[in-house]
């Protein structure tokens, strides 16, 4: 297969480019960039590879005979292609990125430098143990911090993301229940939970039931107690919750669940609000995943890689997936892999290893462990406490600076934690949260989380994080005030926002109805070559 037989190249004027007044479609620093399949070809390469002896002997019958269709570019073209594309992205490095529940904080570059030390970046997961002692020590050291900061007993390091960590925690709970011959079938999840919580519980074979919320946006303790019974395996709570509020009854919830023979899973997505201030272990939590890419600032990278280690109570530690870490009575934290697992369990858990198995091929996200430890050591115990305080301070500053123009459904019940929740109440007819978000884009901000949590109409969840200066917050508040006023007035121009982004509103319905998810050779029209703007009409 050749590439781009139709011959269209970005050297021809772009149809419909007249709205920009330029033949290229570019607008000064806003540069259009075609696909690699439109600018590259199969004979160009940006690497120099030593010639090889081409005798292939026995595998001759398995050799590829047809072209693959992979375009190549020279190094300068490659650098330009990706640099141009990068400039069509909003990023924390450019400005406030207040996605609620996502904790988009500054990513210190020291962490990047540390993760790239060859002693961490260039070691193999199956390397003989005597050649990777420093890596195991690093995992142990991070584990020690995570255990100490949460007041828990052990930690499973291998889960690759938050949702993967949730699954790990729920599987530990299931394994612990099975070990005592206790078949329970239900997991209780609050209405305001992240969608991953019910998905995880269902995957692990549980029936999911909702726990109602009080008008103050918290778990209804009495309703929860009334539902507990011998069929409830676990309760999955997010604390601070997705309304940005701390669950003051957390300890009472844990005590009630434990009394009924169940376990407490805490979604640690919002740990940033309490790190160094409160230890989940003191509140009776049995398992909690920690998103290293949130609280401990490993970069989000346009969506992954994440990292979701799970801290575990004493009751759940023996069931953790391998490899895992646990602290022994002498205060030492151990990393346990398959080979020593039985002996270790014999010595410290007084029995056989009960691990539920393996969750991923290797040890987990080492590159993220290095970054997270670098971040943690930089802050220290004092700095992490300050992180939580500043994150909460920033969120409350936003809440109180905007509650006169935006409806804040829970503001009357006291301070929020690390994120401020608003609703679309009071917007003019026909104006939605989506319109407000798109108008914020024109103001130079990434919008907040929209339409989540589901318990609030047209929800807007704003999480500034602690790494925003007061000046940055003030500018954001000014912009949001102005946009909120326009939403209340019913300003017509909102419906067509954004006006200044690299693209106007995109047709998501079309994308789902006629999915085009891989580049296909355009069929050349008889008269003229297709242009990029026509490609979407295929």
């Amino acid at each position: 297969m050749t590439i781009n037989q139709s011959g269209w190249k970005p050297t021809t004027p772009v149809a419909g480019a007249t709205d920009t007044g330029t033949v290229t479609g570019n607008r000064a620093l806003m540069l259009e960039e075609a696909l690699i399949f439109e600018i590259g070809d199969t004979q160009t390469t940006g690497v120099d590879i030593a010639p090889a002896d081409k005798s292939t002997g026995g595998i001759a019958s398995l050799l590829r005979s047809d072209p693959i269709g992979l375009p190549g570019l020279s190094e300068p073209e490659t650098v330009r292609h990706y640099t141009r594309l990068s400039r069509q992205n909003y990023a924390i490095d450019l400005g406030l990125f207040p996605l609620g529940s996502c904790t988009m904080k500054h990513n210190p570059r020291l962490n990047e430098k540390m993760a790239r030390l060859p002693g961490f970046a260039d070691i193999h997961p199956l390397a003989p143990r005597e050649t990777v002692q420093g890596a195991l020590e690093l995992i142990n050291e991070l584990a020690f911090w995570l255990i100490d900061l949460t007041g828990m007993h052990g930690v499973a390091m291998s889960p690759k993301a938050g949702a993967h960590g949730e699954l790990c925690g729920i599987l530990c709970i299931r394994a612990a229940l099975e070990a005592r011959g206790d078949a329970r079938s239900v997991v209780l999840v609050p209405e305001s939970a992240h969608g991953t919580n019910p998905a995880t519980a269902a995957f692990a074979g549980y029936k999911v039931e909702n726990i109602p919320a009080t008008p103050e946006g918290r778990v209804d303790l009495e309703a929860l107690k009334a539902r507990l019974g011998p069929d409830v395996a676990a309760v999955m709570i997010t604390n601070p919750n997705t309304c940005g509020l701390f669950e003051p009854d957390m300890k009472a919830i844990s005590d009630a669940v434990h009394a009924a023979g169940g376990f407490v899973y805490c979604d640690g997505a919002n740990f940033n609000a309490i790190v160094g201030k409160v230890r989940p272990g003191d509140l009776g939590v049995d398992a909690m995943h920690i998103n290293l890419h949130k609280t401990f600032s490993t970069p989000h990278g346009g969506g992954g890689p994440g990292s979701g280690p799970v801290v575990l109570s004493e009751a759940l530690s023996p069931f953790a997936p391998l490899p895992y870490t646990a602290r022994t009575a002498d205060g030492v934290v151990h990393l346990i892999e398959e080979e020593q697992a039985d002996a270790f369990a014999e010595e410290h858990f007084g029995g056989k290893l009960q691990s539920f198995g393996r969750m991923t091929a290797f040890h987990g996200q080492m590159g993220m462990f290095t970054r997270a430890l670098s971040y943690i050591l930089s802050h220290g115990a004092d700095g992490l406490k300050q992180v939580a305080e500043d994150a909460v301070l920033n969120a409350n500053y936003i809440l109180r600076s905007l509650e006169d123009v935006l409806d804040a459904p829970f503001a009357h019940s006291g301070p929020c934690m690390h994120e401020a929740l608003f609703s679309d109440k009071g917007f003019a007819d026909g104006v939605s949260t989506l319109d407000l978000a798109k108008a914020l884009i024109d103001e130079g901000f990434h919008p907040m989380t929209m339409y989540f949590p589901l318990v609030v109409h047209g929800a807007m969840l704003v999480e500034p994080t602690e790494t925003e200066s007061k000046a940055a917050l003030d500018q954001f508040i000014m912009a949001l005030r102005s946009v909120a006023e326009r939403c209340k007035e019913g300003d017509e121009s909102l419906k067509s926002a954004p006006h200044h982004a690299p693209r106007r509103r995109l047709d998501e319905t079309l994308a789902a109805r006629k999915p085009v998810v891989a580049w296909k050779e355009p069929v050349p029209a008889a008269a003229e070559a297709p242009t990029p703007s026509e490609v979407g009409d295929r």
């Binding site: 070691i123 420093g134 790494t467």
Partner: protein
Amino acid sequence: MRYLPLSDADRSAMLDTIGVAHVDELFRDVPEEARLDGPIRDLPLHASELQVERHLSALARKNVPAGEVPFFLGCGAYKHHVPASVDHLIQRGEFLTAYTPYQPEIAQGTLQVLFEFQSQVARLMGCEVANASMYDGSTACWEAIGMARRISRKAKTLISSGLHPHYVSVCKTMAKFTGDTLETAAPELSPTTDLDDLAARIDGETSAVVVQYPDILGRVADLQPLADAAHAKGALLIVVVTEPVALGLLKSPGEMGADIVVGEGQSIGVGLNFGGPYVGLFACREKHIRQMPGRIAGETIDADGKRGFVLTLSTREQHIRREKATSNICTNSGLCALAFSIHMTLLGEKGLRQLAELNHARARVAADKLAAIPGVRLVNDLFFNEFTLELPVEARPAVHRMVERGVLGGVSLGRLYPDEASLSNGLVVAVTETATDEDIDALAKALTEAVK
């Protein structure tokens, strides 16, 4: 604290605006007895960049980087040269510090990269479509089994003995909770794969057959007969590729009839990283697109009619369907997918073929040299860049003896299969473009000594 911009004056002013005297009043929902009165006592206080660097560098120095010694480890993670521009580009803040493209108008960079990545992966695998990546190869493998179950409505999966044992473990762990039946076995030190045997075992209850290509011992075989046998019984063929560079030289699984092709993309652009983060690859036939897990970027147009990209088919996603979701996966491996895509763009078809040829040629040189060592037998003569040796002694201690001679000489099957005595003399050796003639000589010398 260098990462915290607020000054004490800022904090006071903000507390005034909020109308409280002290920040602790904002934590009033936290019960008194649960609050820590100060920094956690047995943890150190904040440190300067220099101090942190010193501490972590000391830890890093206790490891032996692959680039500093003759290095021959594979088995699911491979040492390849990554061009300098790859790591430079992925560190651009607009890629590094962006998030999930929830607002496509200001995330076209990420979305177009994912669309290009999907297109590259689909072509490489010989499939029509691919997703925007998974956590890693092992989790992608499990997701493929789940997807096959949804398509076939059957729950028995036959797994080749040539599938990476850690991948098998991951699948077994998950299957315990989903009711899937997995039939597995350990491999034999033989040049012949178990594909014929698998084909014979497929029956009307079989949802899918999973094979690795090249397999854990480095063996390669034609997959077409197995694909035909599976399709004749209404089962799907899932092929796992842990070394995508192989597909620069070898026929793609898709052209040999695979329905779902998954794999580990770490070889291209990502680096070893002690096992993670890696990048799971997932490709399939277009007719199954709505059953494919994970994120997908799709093409569309904007209000001006300009081409653009969005995350699409997200009804599959947990955030919409909650307990009805097909998977609880919420993220992908975006930055690693970007690294893969940049490296693949630099290579292009021509560079990928050259790289694959070079890998095979280097491995051929090493295999011939090692097979000449007295008592050492080359198990499989058909391989890409990884092959298995049967040693006259147990391979595990031999690996450690080679370490003493400064050579990382391979992965012992005793480490991967601690319970299989019949495999304990097996050593899997991976040879990439990074191995020089001197490296191969050093390996031959170290192995000669280690098996005495």
